[in-house]
Subunit: 375 residues, 2 copies
Amino acid sequence: MFFSINRLSLIEEINKCNRIIDFKSPSPSITGISIEVSVDNLVLISTNSVISIKTCINVGEIDLIIKQPGNLLIRGKYFLDILRKMDDDIVNVSCVEENIVVLSGKKLEFSLNILDYNDFPIIAFREKGESIIVNCADLKKALNQTIISVNEYKQKIVLSGLNFSLKNDVFFITGTDGYRVSRKKINFWSSEIEEKFESNIPYKSVLEVIKLLPENGECKISIVDNYAMFIINKTVFQTSVLEGQFPDVNAVFPVDFNTTIFVDNKKFYKLISRADLPNDDNSIPVVNLILENEKIFIKSSIHQVGSYEEEFEEFELKGIDNQNISFNSKYLIDSLRSFETRMIEINLIDSKKPIVISSSEDDSLSQIILPMFSN
Amino acid sequence: MFFSINRLSLIEEINKCNRIIDFKSPSPSITGISIEVSVDNLVLISTNSVISIKTCINVGEIDLIIKQPGNLLIRGKYFLDILRKMDDDIVNVSCVEENIVVLSGKKLEFSLNILDYNDFPIIAFREKGESIIVNCADLKKALNQTIISVNEYKQKIVLSGLNFSLKNDVFFITGTDGYRVSRKKINFWSSEIEEKFESNIPYKSVLEVIKLLPENGECKISIVDNYAMFIINKTVFQTSVLEGQFPDVNAVFPVDFNTTIFVDNKKFYKLISRADLPNDDNSIPVVNLILENEKIFIKSSIHQVGSYEEEFEEFELKGIDNQNISFNSKYLIDSLRSFETRMIEINLIDSKKPIVISSSEDDSLSQIILPMFSN
């Protein structure tokens, strides 16, 4: 086994594989990265109990020259650490003895112990199947905007991830923890889907996909059996999906509102942040919004800490000028932060109905928060 | 008690006091910041078991207007959090009820519970006494360059801090853990010291002084009884000092060397960093430097991880072209990083004598490392 390759590009590929590895795994072979070197390409694979990743580099790409095929199982952490400390543009990777890989540059040589390649599991990547193609930047943004409503440790397993759903040519990504909903519509420009397409992607897998997504290019998403695949260039990211029926959140989305408040997002965000009083007890931070006489009054209080009150007038109003509603300030802060638009709309019905945050500048995103009952 | 003040400047002052507080202290009053408001100034005080800090703001400074004197003991963490979230340039601070402080801006009001002022200890600040004055930037740099050799958890208490010593008109700051020594000479431009001046400042206090030191201005250092004082503008930082006799490190500094290697600091730093192999066992990383035939060979190895070897030629040499010495690579890396000069000198005697790192571009700093015995 002998190849040479561009050092910085190899760091990037090793890094992708390393990120998902569970270094605390009791089985050392699972903490390795498998490198399969054939005559015309090099395939890196790593895995954990939920996610597997495969990335392929062809001869000629990132200066890859293969002098002798072969397989090895490296310890990615050490390998990466050493690649980062090297100065050379091109590094040589070779196996002389069975259990040692040699990384060399012009004037230096590292000999690293490796793992037994035969101990690494065989992983089936399900790359064929119905798929849709989305813009990477769009997907990244959508995942960031919807994951805020997901509680990773939710008892109801299906809620501990994001729901991907394509129905009637509309593709939604939705997250909910039962108290709030984040829903985002995404454009897709190719589909082989016949009818519908639905899957629930685990929280941790979503975080990894976010890290993997570049700012440019396209991502192919396909769902086969109990797996979802995200294919970006030559990298295949495969995750098992969550079982269960995701709730029909569209049913809870109110359509008619009594009051709509139009407000500058940054200003409103700062206002609500102030209401989020510091506290060490992890008690739920309740904020009370009172609308009357064309003014908003924001109040909050936490026993042992203190209380807060502020008057706010910089908004436009449509509908009834009389509301009194309370909610979890952390939820509202998360929602406001997910909007990139200048203005947002706070849509209210009454003190017992969900509030909906949206923006007419970008109607693809909606955030719903259930109110809290307080005195 | 009623005053108004510039918000951002107050944040800075509260921050200085907050940093030293031990929020885990079982006594809640010690976790507070005492604010003494008299007719013409405002004094903030906080303390922990080793360090006390006092900062004084006069009427007129940072927009301070005092309307009514009084005392209070605030919970600095909450106070700071709220000040940071406010938008107003000027904030009003007042006590209406006994156990509540009100922080208000133009349109908002925070009411915060406070602690009982009478529970706060009376702290004596020893501001008078023999003192020297140094440049703040010089002191900050010197502390950063010497603290690298201090082991906070050293069993020999006197070594768990930095030694400040003025003798024969030369002021040295020295740190050592018994295996290495960092020594820095500092210029001072005023002294009322009659004979000598010596004190050992605890590790944690040094870290806090580093944070406190601004880039400009001067710092007055004085030592009274078992306390050292650092006075920067109107802020007094007082720390108890370490007892015991600091070793005479000047005695171990070799003067005559057999070999001096002149090398680019950045290049040599990268070289030694590579020799510092990754490992999870916290075993001591030994690096071996061999000088022969006008070449340097750097070698290292860690069982279970692997080995490394590199050839290095970019240096100038004075003296004997034949050395073989081993040392702790972490120590050498720390030393190299402490130099801001372009070139450095590695001074060697033989494999059993300490190596000295210095730079003719700045002779105020010396770093000594004891060699390790290896095969």
